[in-house]
Symmetry: C2
Amino acid sequence: MDLDRSPLALPFPAIPAIGGVTLRVARARYKEWDRCDLTYAELAEGTTVAGVFTKNVCCSSEVELGREQVLLGRARALIVNAGNSNAFTGYRGREAVEQIMAQVAHHLGCEPSEVFVSSTGVIGVPLPKDKAREGVATALAAPPCSWQEAAVTIGTTDTFPKGAVATAVVQGRTVTIAGIIKGSGMIAPDMATMLGYVFTDAAVDPAFLQQCLSASNESTFSCITVDSDTSTSDTVLAFATGKAGNAPLGSFDDPGADAFAAALHDVCRQLALLVVRDGEGAQKLIEVRVSGAVSDDSARRIGLAIANSPLVKTAIAGEDANWGRVVMAVGKAGEPADRDKLSIGFGGTWAAREGLPLVDYDEAPVAAHLKGREIDIEVDLGLGDGRATVWTCDLTHGYIAINADYRS
Amino acid sequence: MDLDRSPLALPFPAIPAIGGVTLRVARARYKEWDRCDLTYAELAEGTTVAGVFTKNVCCSSEVELGREQVLLGRARALIVNAGNSNAFTGYRGREAVEQIMAQVAHHLGCEPSEVFVSSTGVIGVPLPKDKAREGVATALAAPPCSWQEAAVTIGTTDTFPKGAVATAVVQGRTVTIAGIIKGSGMIAPDMATMLGYVFTDAAVDPAFLQQCLSASNESTFSCITVDSDTSTSDTVLAFATGKAGNAPLGSFDDPGADAFAAALHDVCRQLALLVVRDGEGAQKLIEVRVSGAVSDDSARRIGLAIANSPLVKTAIAGEDANWGRVVMAVGKAGEPADRDKLSIGFGGTWAAREGLPLVDYDEAPVAAHLKGREIDIEVDLGLGDGRATVWTCDLTHGYIAINADYRS
């Protein structure tokens, strides 16, 4: 099926080349697609790597292997297959991944453990080894491509390519951090959402890179949801080639480490929000800000209960200021809440304060706000200092059309 | 909006009169409805009561009061308001409930604590006291009505009235247990789902009635979900008038107690399934049977993860045997599961056994099964003896239309 471009799409940003990163794409023909579906990123010798992965216990071989590879901290290549997730395919799926790792390692003269593989698409169909072998061979020999071409190639039901870039000054040198990501459905928190890849020319020790990535993940990828469904293949990898020439960052005590971590966080946040902007069927981007909870973690859980509520999401789709559904979602979250201290607002206007609907509540500014593309829901629990922000999209006929009207 | 009758609707059963129960309905005009919206059940002196209520912490005054009243174990009346849930309305909402309790108690010459009140409808609008007062006065003077009329009157977005009946022989006497229920959206487990009322002429001590009701709730109302959203008003009450003349049942040691508990369970199960059959937008009834889990509780959580997955529910709506989505839902449930021991089937046909898609999997019988109205999903974890069955419906354009296309 052809999907219309999301009305929340953003133009692909201008991303400069990153020293030590070369991108190539090819056609492995995993599906009947008239497009490239295999992405290859060649990484300079000495590149360090960090990663966060799905917590789904039925994860793919790619995720199982990736978790082990990340512990070694070194990367020379990334292969991304689109159109087949290779999840729940047992030993046959694992053999296909190991074949790709061996093939690329042989080409580069590196260890197979330095070759990272991700796959995305249908669950339960072993990745065909012959198509993978030919596709990888083609990619290894292909001319370099742009960031945007790579971002298009890793996508599946995505309606626009997604990229982000930020810079930081580290020890007097400007380092660049660029990322691409794919994802639209089967998006839920409590994991590293979907397939995302961040590349930087900074030199960063793998343990510190992992520390920065894990911390950013907590408030970016783990704070978005499209449909509460946690994928079996979600992966975010960060690669640092070291080509900017700074002294390797090993801890927050090192000069420039704060700036680097902030820029990495910025890229992660941009990428996470791009996924929500391309949520299946999305017409509106919803930001849920929770304050006054007993802890930040409690605030996040309450925010996600709101963001995952089908009734809240359909109310926003209907431009309906149905704040009673927000009350319901707060109450079902399983977190401390006191009905009589709860306040709820939309777009800066309170509809209810401290457990009571406002007598002089003027729905006009709220109605105007809800007609827009970017919706703010504010919830104050009135209990403590815990706060969190989570993002989701509305639930529309488009989601049903994508997931029910067409056979997989 | 006018909703079409659910294709999964069942005819209203023939329910006999229950000694000690008189039903009446009236128009309180809480909404612009051309129908009765206030139900009154008068209960004989000596009636005992038990109840289970929503675990939503933002619950209504009706639920707060009902929890306290049930502890006293005695009931003389039930009032159900349809069209306004009176939830999140603070002291003003509570005053309206207390007014109704006082008005009915004065009429019957009983304690206000013996008058149970439920309300269902929009959240955040205080129940108008004047309409309630007039409606109750009309109901108190109204002629008796049928079970079906009462079942229609407690409904809101329900597309058909829901009732169930069973009998048991207790100490040589036949006792009857009848129930009515309403519910269609904002239906999720971990509580007593929606508004349901069970009446029996058996004589039952309130503590034992509570024990039987709570036990039945665990595997009936708490095992259904329409949209994962837990309402603020959910209530199931059981009333025992004692008019059958048996010696009061006080424990499972009493003759006939087992038969009574089994019949009560039967009625609860029938009522719970009727709610799913009227799930908003439902086109198919889905039964998820989980076996081989490490415990029954773990099996139930896994079943609910499947039943609440938008991607599983839309796949069933699309008659798509997309068992990979079931794998995903098992994996995200947060319960012990081993991908390589997992088996998944539809309608008696295994699609995957022990972590691998079946090589000779014949999709034809599965495709035929999925075209039907009643869909079975079977999951075997291969880990232990834990098992559970949960029920849900598919997720269709109808759900979006009901909840997004029309302003509340």
